[in-house]
């Protein structure tokens, strides 16, 4: 029997060590079939595809530095007196959480750096997810088959916000405590259940002695655990679907053009991890973030001016600041609309972008897979909707810092708040109209370029004295790239009379869909792309160049 093994084609004795290890692992894990499909997997190249990588890498950095911080942080609200090396706080009463954060910052060598890398990476993680999400949105990468992955990404963004919030609340400093108080006030505004949720979350009245320990387990275990699962799922789906690509010569909906994972993509993406980590480490060494020692420990009766949450909470902050203080008192109960409505808008506004892929696929009725990305201009209504959404978000970000805006630009706080109140409604409408027109303008320019060529900048004088600009015809590559996109036709309700002449009542949803479809793809919303006939007629006719 043993001699039979020696006859096997793989002569183990001579194979290099790496190969032998791989063989060993394959015999137990089946890694070869996995590697066969993936080792030379093709990844297309475009600068915007690295936005997602920034998110992934900052997430890894957050986990690495976070584990380090747990070695020194004490998630306890026991009151202690400070005797550490930071002189201005000597003898102060503070919670153990705050004290251990001071210790990390002043007494653990390199602790401050890791703390600041952790915080900067969190800020970049959220910003990266926001921009990455916008990239996916504006290029239509969320379309079938990637809707689920869009939802995974969306959940990561939302959970990221709450992980960030629970994280910066842990040091129990005056600034973050104020943020926790705000959250508790917002929870109280919920009808019927508000006071109960508040009592259960804080283990009694605010602030109590429990929330740091509770936020701690939420921040280091519950939320990141879910997020890690989502990240893995997100990546598996990216591999499984294969990456999208922009239209171009040789790129079709049925292929993926780019460089193989081993070696190019591995080197570039792996290298990019170090680039991201390096930049964040340098920033953390140079720029201080959340200097809790300058703010002091939390006391519910003290506050500093210019209190600001981390940027990703600015939108919620803005909603709460801009909302008028409506309160309805009836039958012995209070409906705190002034706080509850912002809470609801916050949810609806986020749900809107989460559900968008399903809305668009319902309007188009398109059930095909899409692997070629749209240029934003070629989907004017979607692009306009996205810009309107971002506009509302940004207006509320300004609203969240209305006091900072007012003091920095010497404006009245009331004027800034009113600007935000009006801007939240008017801004998106204006942004929608302007964006759509810009998209249509760009579509016209593309058409012009296809039919008449590129403006070469060369001015030619004709024999009779006329000056003309020479237009340079495009190559077939360019012609193809500019005309590869597909244009939908507006959906129709269909005949309102059936074959027997009986009147058929169009359903309300059908009517709505037809209306939306008209808004998306009607004459007002896209410029018909040039046809081959048009092109031939112009190029074969009298010379125009």
């Amino acid at each position: 029997m043993s001699t039979a093994a020696n006859d096997a084609p793989r002569s183990r004795g001579k194979a290099p060590a790496g190969e032998r290890v791989a063989d060993w692992a394959d015999g137990r894990l089946g890694i070869y079939s996995l590697a066969k499909a993936n080792m030379r997997k093709i990844f297309p190249d475009h600068w915007s595809f690295m936005l997602g990588e920034i998110c992934l890498y900052s997430f890894i950095i957050i986990i690495l530095t976070g584990v380090y911080l747990t070695l020194f942080f004490h998630p306890s609200m026991n009151e202690v007196t400070y005797h550490g090396s930071y002189v201005p706080m000597q003898g102060q009463l503070m919670s153990e959480a705050y004290k251990s954060t001071l210790d990390i910052s002043f007494d653990v060598r390199g602790g401050l750096l890791i703390r600041q890398i952790h915080h900067w990476a969190a800020i970049i993680f959220l910003a990266g997810m926001f921009v990455h999400m916008m990239r996916v949105f504006f290029t239509g990468a969320f379309r079938k088959p990637r809707e689920i992955n869009w939802l995974f990404g969306f959940l990561l963004f939302v959970l990221g916000m709450f992980t960030g919030f629970t994280g910066y609340s842990l040091p129990d400093d005056l600034l973050s405590g104020t943020g926790v108080r705000f959250t508790q006030g917002a929870i109280l505004s919920m009808p019927v259940v508000g006071t109960y949720i508040s009592m259960f979350l804080f283990g009694g009245e605010f602030p109590g002695t429990d929330f740091v320990a509770r936020f701690y387990s939420i921040h280091i275990l519950l939320l990141p655990g879910i997020m890690l699962g989502l990240v893995v799922g997100h990546l598996i789906l990216v591999f499984y679907h294969k990456h999208t690509q922009f239209a171009g010569p040789g790129k079709t909906n049925k292929n993926v053009v780019g460089m193989p994972l081993l070696p190019v993509y591995m080197a570039k993406a792996g290298g990019f991890f170090f680039l991201v980590f390096g930049v964040i480490a340098a920033v953390a060494g140079l720029v201080s973030v959340n200097p809790i020692w300058a703010i002091g420990p939390y006391r519910p009766d003290q506050v500093s001016t210019g209190a600001q949450p981390d940027w990703y909470m600015g939108f919620a902050e803005g909603l709460v600041r801009a909302m008028p203080g409506w309160e309805i008192n009836a039958w012995g109960h209070t409906l705190v609309l002034g706080v509850f409505i912002p809470l609801v808008i916050f949810g609806i506004f986020l749900a809107l972008i989460a559900l968008y892929p399903f809305i668009e696929s319902w309007v188009t009725g398109d059930k095909r897979e899409h692997h070629i990305l749209d240029r934003p201009r070629n989907a004017p209504t979607r692009t306009a909707f996205g810009v309107a959404w971002v506009t509302a978000y940004m207006v509320m970000l300004i609203g969240g810092g209305n006091d900072i805006v007012a003091t920095h630009f010497h404006l009245s706080i009331n004027a800034v708040t009113w600007f935000v109140r009006i801007g939240f409604f008017a801004g998106p409408v204006i942004a929608f109209i302007v964006t759509k027109r810009i998209c249509l303008g760009l579509q016209r320019r593309d058409k012009e370029k296809v039919l008449h060529g590129r403006e070469s900048g060369i001015i030619k004088r004709l024999p009779h004295g006329e000056f003309i600009e020479v237009h340079e015809p495009l190559s077939q590559e360019q012609l193809h790239t500019l005309t590869a996109h597909e244009q939908y036709k507006p959906a129709e309700i269909g005949p309102t009379v059936d074959e027997n002449g009986v009147e058929r009542k169009a359903k309300g949803t059908d009517k709505l869909r037809a209306k939306l479809s008209e808004a998306y793809y009607g004459e007002e919303s896209q410029i018909p792309k040039p046809t081959v006939e048009e092109y031939k007629e112009i190029t074969s006719g009298h010379g125009h160049h």
């Binding site: 009245e205 290298g271 340098a282 002034g338 708040t417 590559e477 081959v532």
Partner: protein, 352 residues
């Protein structure tokens, strides 16, 4: 680098026709996909010297990384952790944090830069096309899976034995309730906790800064004083919870300038006491404008007119700040005449 150094046979193939000429391969459809463009060689592909230079650049970057790591360890050991240095334009910053951040940043960044430079200049940059396959299964697979499922469901007899199905669903629905019940002891029920504070009849108003009870003469017109109830000390275990409700703002107005009748009644010689906790979401109000008698919450800019029953005149707060009824005791000290008549802080469903 001159082109003479490049061996003839390594030169890239003739480039496309000079610009200006249209190259439309497909006469029928000029918009048709011309297929992947021919691969263009980089200088490193055809010139070994250029490739050598790239190799040296990558190696240099990796070497810098090693040096930076050594620098990191050296900074960790050598720099006192409380030393601060002046770096323009950052100002005075912690020397160790600066050195550690910079060396770690360089050590990591140069690894990345080396890898990316290596990939861009020395690894093959030929684009390759991979086929995509439909995500959906073909009809055959689909039919097989559906048939298998039906077979499995049939063999389980779950469709036929409804009693099993229904009791199982019932059991699975009920069992998570134990988990919900277990959450009950996360905290007490609200009860009337949010309605009461430490204030009560006869409690002295104690100055937050001096920790002394106050006489009316201690409070000047136009000043803002923060107060707490007597007996509440900073190191008390429930200090945070109590001060979160009992914190008080005391100001002195000219009695004629008080517009609200009840405010005047509950004041003493123009001294009025209001809850310091904002009725919006509970921030402590700490900005006071003595000319206008306006108090402003620094968190969300709710503005209250303290001369007019603390009416909300701007911002997101929904109702006035609760006022504490005060007077003077036999010894001439300011005291509370009762608890707040309404809950302090943010509004809630049961507030009414």
């Amino acid at each position: 680098m001159s082109s003479q150094d490049i061996p003839e046979e390594n030169l890239p193939a003739e480039q496309d026709a000079p610009h200006g000429a249209v190259k439309v391969a497909d006469e029928e459809n000029p918009f048709a996909d011309p297929g992947l463009p021919p691969h263009e060689h980089r200088i490193q592909d055809i010139d070994e010297q250029a490739a050598k230079r790239s190799e040296r650049a990558v190696a240099l970057l990796f070497t810098v990384s090693m040096l930076a790591t050594i620098g990191f360890i050296a900074s960790f050991v050598a720099i006192p952790h409380d030393k601060s240095i002046f770096i323009w334009p950052l100002g005075h910053i912690n020397a160790m944090n600066f050195a550690l951040g910079l060396t770690l940043g360089v050590a990591l960044f140069t690894i990345g830069a080396g890898a990316v430079h290596w990939a861009r200049t020395l690894m093959s940059d030929e684009e390759v096309a991979d086929e995509r396959h439909a995500i959906e299964a073909d009809t055959e697979t689909r039919a097989k899976v559906h048939a298998d499922f039906k077979q499995g469901a049939k063999e389980s007899v779950i469709g036929r034995r409804k009693l099993i199905r229904n009791t199982m669903l019932g059991a699975l629905t009920l069992v998570p309730l134990s988990g919900v019940v277990l959450l009950r002891d996360l905290g007490p029920l609200p009860g009337t906790k949010l309605r009461h504070t430490l204030w009560s009849k006869g409690k002295l108003l104690v100055n937050m800064n001096t920790n002394e009870p106050m006489r009316p003469s201690d409070i000047g017109v136009g000043s803002l004083t923060f107060a707490k109830p007597e007996g509440l000390e900073e190191h008390d275990h429930d200090f945070q919870n109590e001060i979160a409700k009992a914190a008080l703002m005391i100001i002195r107005l000219e009695p004629d300038s008080i517009k609200d009748k009840r405010e005047l009644e509950w004041s003493h010689e123009g001294i009025v006491a209001y809850s310091k906790i904002c009725t919006h979401v509970g921030c402590p109000i700490s900005l006071y404008e003595q000319q206008t008698h306006h108090a402003l919450c620094p968190c969300h800019q709710s503005t209250f007119d303290l001369a007019d029953g603390a009416r909300v005149i701007f911002g997101p707060a929904g109702h006035p700040l609760p006022q504490l009824r005060i007077g003077v005791n036999d010894e001439g000290y300011l005291e509370a005449l009762s608890d707040f008549e309404e809950p302090v802080g943010p509004a809630f469903w049961e507030r009414g």
